[in-house]
């Protein structure tokens, strides 16, 4: 095996230490690829209505049946993956980035800045996510942007607090003093000494939150606050499907199952990432 192949292999092996996390990682990748390839993979366009075959059970032509407007459920779910996955991933990424930044600065600088900023951040934490989303939708209007914003703000406090607490305790460690005595400034200390030690738990929480974010997006979609019809989202499909739970259960089954599976895969993969970031475990395996 060439040296490059060996390195790639050991890096991948490092990232996926257990079978479940490896399997979940691959499954997630497949989901993402499906979402990207939606226009080519979906058997029908997501908005093609055909009332004559409305609410039909699964058949050869429509593997997962049709909804109340005669649209193919499978195609709508495939396109819906785009919405749900992209919204949650973007929202969480935004939340993590801003949260780490604010948390690091507040934790390091402390004092009045810390108190003021954290009061504001804690305020967002005290709002239930739905109320927050409602507020934002009321201001900006419905659509994927407001969903992304709502989810980001809902999780911001969590990442900020997590980062801040760790930074506060880490900055008193002697190795920070050592860097200071070498002449290091706050940027070097935060970026090189503090954040790398803080980032591991934050990333894990981020992964776990992505699972929750998908649920939140589904909830917002359920209330009609997310992307507008006819663009499909898993949450909206749950919402309309729930009305036909007993008459046409297949409408709600597939999106529901995929939400659950996505969350499970993300959580399992997240555990693998945690293991990968653990330096002691890494060193032991070499």
């Amino acid at each position: 095996m060439t040296a490059l192949a060996a390195t790639v292999r050991s890096n991948i092996a490092a990232l996926m230490p257990t079978f479940s996390s490896a399997f979940s990682g691959v499954a997630l990748l497949i989901l993402i690829l499906i979402a990207c390839a939606a226009p080519w993979l979906a058997p029908y366009p997501y908005d093609l209505q055909n009332l004559s075959i409305a609410a039909q059970a699964p058949s050869a032509a429509h593997w997962f049946g049709t909804d109340e407007f005669g649209r193919d459920v499978l195609s709508r779910v495939i396109f819906g993956a785009r919405t749900s996955l992209s919204v949650s991933l973007v929202a969480i990424s935004l939340s993590v980035t801003v949260g780490i930044l604010i948390g690091a600065i507040c934790g390091y600088v402390g004092g009045r800045l810390d108190r003021i900023v954290m009061s504001i951040v804690d305020l967002t934490w005290s709002f239930p996510e739905i109320v927050l989303a409602l507020l934002i939708v009321a201001i900006i209007g419905p659509g994927s942007s407001s969903t992304v914003l709502a989810i980001s703000i809902a999780y911001l406090a969590q990442f900020t607090r997590l980062t801040r607490t760790q930074i506060k305790s880490l900055k008193r460690q002697t190795f920070v003093e050592a860097s200071l005595s070498l002449g290091a400034g706050p940027t070097h200390i935060i970026m090189r000494r503090l954040l790398p030690n803080v980032v591991a738990p934050v990333i894990v929480v981020a992964m776990l939150s992505t699972g929750n974010a998908i649920l939140l997006e589904a909830t917002l979609g359920f209330f009609g606050m997310g992307v507008q019809p006819p663009v499909p989202s898993w949450g909206a499909m749950l919402s309309t499907g729930s009305a036909q739970l007993f008459s046409a259960p297949w409408v709600i089954l597939l999106p529901g199952a995929l939400i659950a599976l996505s969350v499970i895969f993300i959580n399992l993969f997240g555990e693998g990432v945690l293991h990968a970031l653990d330096i002691k475990a890494q060193a032991r395996s070499h």
């Binding site: 190795f175 003093e177 200071l180 005595s181 070498l182 002449g183 290091a184 090189r192 330096i279 002691k280």
Partner: protein
């Protein structure tokens, strides 16, 4: 010869508490400390908890700013410099810390820990130069070269401490402050590290400020020793000299010599170190001193030189002829 380090009237007070109805409390960690350190000297600083020696170390290193006084490194007052002006000067004075476990970033390999000084100071190194530096530093502290790729948790306490010393040496400083650098090591490893420090001092022309609670070690290693009590220097003791201050005598008597034929009654003083918040009017040691007199509680004794190297801050010593007793 101009001293490499000159500390003049340095004091540091910490304030704590203070809220709506509560008054702020002031804690004088260090008060009115003055001394010079000559090039090539090993100066010891010894004392028990609350004496201010760790705070003094950080004041010298400008990790803390003095509330009063000046810290002159090679003639320049580093206490009053701006952070920017201070940075290039920092390469000349470095510190080795007490706790080997927390003084190295757990996510850094030894190699990166040793190269960080150059990174921070903005000194560019090619890959070849960097590797050469790392190897040279490891050799200097007698560590095997393969340790460069290890992490902190893979090394023993003694090895970690050597890495700390190597890091302090990276920028070629002239002064190194060692804050209880051997306190957490086994005795046999401590002796190794002390021998290494002595060797390095000879080879690299270093000056040390060696802080410790272990009087026997300090007497062995250091040319002169400052004895501190509650933030003040009570005695400056040259190597081999007999202590004069009652506190220093008590410290000396508390040293348990590993010789069963030299058993003596250990305890000289009773009581414990008073809290630093309630600072007494006169001599801080008056409450526990076996030779206390009324004058001691009224006014603060000043550090006065006995001989060229030996100085004491004690009223009793000045007023009476000291009978050999201890």
């Amino acid at each position: 010869m101009k001293p490499i380090l000159s500390v003049r009237g340095v004091g540091r007070t910490f304030t704590s508490g203070g809220g709506f109805l509560k008054a702020r409390r002031h804690f004088r960690a260090v008060s009115d400390v003055s001394f010079d350190v000559q090039r090539g000297e090993v100066l010891g600083v010894v004392g028990e908890s609350g004496c201010g020696k760790s705070t003094l170390a950080r004041l010298i290193m400008r990790l803390l700013t003095p509330t009063t006084g000046e810290v002159l490194f090679d003639g320049t007052d580093i206490a009053s410099l701006s952070v920017r002006a201070l940075r290039p000067l920092r390469r000349h004075f470095q510190m080795v810390f007490q706790d080997p476990y927390s003084s190295i970033d757990p996510r850094q390999k030894v190699r990166d820990t040793l190269l960080e000084p150059f990174q921070v100071q903005g000194i560019p190194l090619t890959l070849a130069q960097a590797n050469a530096k790392v190897d040279a530093l490891l050799t200097m502290v007698a560590l095997p070269l393969h340790l460069a790729d290890s992490y902190q948790h893979q090394m023993s306490g003694g090895q970690k401490q050597r890495v700390g010393i190597a890091r302090a040496l990276a920028l070629d400083p002239s002064l190194i402050v060692l804050d209880e650098s051997t306190a957490s090591l086994d005795v046999s490893i401590q002796a190794q590290v002390i021998a290494l420090l002595q060797d390095l001092r000879d080879r690299l022309d270093l000056t040390y400020v060696f802080i410790s609670h272990d009087l026997a070690l300090v007497q062995y290693f250091c040319d002169r020793t400052l004895v501190m009590y509650l933030g003040r220097v009570v005695e400056v003791l040259p190597r081999g000299a007999t202590p004069i201050h009652p506190y220093t005598k008590a410290l000396m008597a508390s040293v348990l010599v590993p010789d069963p034929h030299q058993r003596h009654e250990i305890v000289r003083i009773t009581g414990e170190i008073p809290s630093g918040y309630d600072e007494p009017l006169g001599c801080a040691f008056a409450g526990r001193c076996p030779r206390v007199q009324p004058r001691c509680r009224e006014s603060l004794p000043i550090l006065r030189s006995q001989t060229d190297q030996h100085a004491v801050a004690c009223h009793v010593h000045e007023s009476t002829v000291l009978a050999p007793e201890f």
